[in-house]
Symmetry: C2
Subunit: 254 residues, 2 copies
DNA sequence: AGTTGTGAATGTGTTCACAGCC
DNA sequence: GGCTGTGAACACATTCACAACT
């Protein structure tokens, strides 16, 4: 409605390809685990296995960051942890607000992995006056009326929308107007945002539908269509590997 | 450990590109909304706007399904809803189990959008004996001990893992052994599965880190690095549009 | 010998732009 | 005139395979 335009592309990631950026958190997680086990170095092969990618891809990814490895040896774990953290901007503190404290919002607020890596739940916001003041995950819920003030007072630039679909665009507009420039949207709606604002979405039902598609394929090997809807003709060269790996994100359980 | 290999690619999506499959649910959602408003036809331009993509992409996507439009007119809404539903396998019933009924598992169980589109929560499973029997979203929680029986009795092929990270691989192994071939993983871990099993992951912390990366970029226009870590040289031709659109998924709030 | 870093090749996805049909 | 469907061009991503370095 308001904006007309659809999702904005946002500043082009310096030299680092978007696909690589999406994998850095994965590497970081694997490296952190190694670090906790006091492993000093890893080879691309080992780290790739831990992160669930292949080693050529990992080396290529790291090459965009610089030459942080040692030939014949591998990568220094601590050093890489630092470099990736810095690249991702995790060496600074990111106050985050969560809007919509229903089941999901509460789950997100309780998610431990938040604080661990640069993110801090600065506030929880909900439209229900009955929620106001009630603590969720130790943080008192505040009313939507104060949204703008909360954003400004806390210098929040990242917002998480966990409201029902119907409220999402309105909440989004207010967040953006108040200065939020990155939004993680859990509501099943397309959000319209102005240029310069990043939106990422997390959508359970889309994921399930994609799984269903592949599941159906597995079942019906030769399943001929009953109606005469023309089947796609060209089938490309070979199958190759694609995998359902995309560049999705992950939530933490309670 | 067990499998050694990482994520499996799974059966190659007939002729339909993976990127297209990931967008079909988006189109379907927009079409369903139009259908509810009794709109008979849409142009690629209108539908694309509603789905948040550009019209060329949409037309290309639809071309993989067949020629379902009418030149000079557009697409018949009802017909497209049916075709996409069929393509995604939503004309059949998909029983789903959710394992790990913490905050997040409960949120997922309460998610309304489930039933609406072919998916049905067949069972909720948790390792905590104290949870057993307690109803969540009207469905009694069952104990992990019965996981295999539940999967088999209900003919479940899609499982949702919402356990803590530490339990995820083990749960995954049991789901797969019991016959599950598609898994939606909310735990922040890489799951190892045998060939033929699809895994999709939803990871909050990865999403936030990707946002932080772009956010950092927005802030430091000219931010010179303090240390001498070599900046990437080549910067490619133009910026173009990429957008944080990837092919993520979405969860529904309470 | 072992492992990184990277050009080149290949594969996948997006966009353009227009012929073809209504 | 309007809108779809699609070949061709382009852009992005992955993989290969090996030279470069320790």
């Amino acid at each position: 409605m308001a904006t007309g335009r659809t999702h904005r592309p946002a500043t082009r990631s310096r030299g680092i390809p978007e696909a690589t950026v999406a994998r850095l958190p994965l590497y970081l997680r694997a490296l952190t685990a190694l670090s906790e086990r006091s492993v000093p170095t890893v080879s691309s092969e080992e780290l790739a296995a831990a992160a669930g990618v292949n080693s050529a891809k990992l080396r290529k990814d790291f090459s965009y960051l610089g030459s942080y490895g040692t030939r014949g040896v591998g990568y220094d774990v601590e050093y890489l942890v630092y470099q990736i953290s810095r690249e991702l901007g995790l060496t600074q503190d990111w106050p985050v607000v969560i809007v919509g404290i229903g089941n999901l919002g509460a789950a997100l607020a309780n998610y431990g992995g938040f604080a661990s890596r640069g993110f801090r739940v600065a506030a929880l916001i909900d439209a229900d006056p009955a929620m106001a003041g009630k603590p969720v995950a130790g943080i008192p819920v505040q009313h939507t009326d104060d949204l703008e003030k909360i954003i400004e007072d806390n210098g929040v630039s990242i917002g998480v929308i966990a409201t029902p679909a119907g409220a999402a665009q309105q909440v989004c507009d207010r967040l953006v107007a108040a200065g939020v420039t990155s939004i993680l949207n859990f509501a099943p709606t397309v959000l319209n945002v102005p240029e310069g604002v990043d939106v990422r979405k997390v959508d359970l039902s889309i994921e399930l539908q994609i799984l269903a598609f592949h599941e159906q394929r597995k079942a019906g090997e030769e399943a001929a269509s009953t109606d005469g809807t023309g089947p796609v003709t060209a089938v490309r060269g070979e199958s190759g590997d694609k995998g359902p790996d995309g560049d999705v994100p992950a939530v933490m359980p309670a």
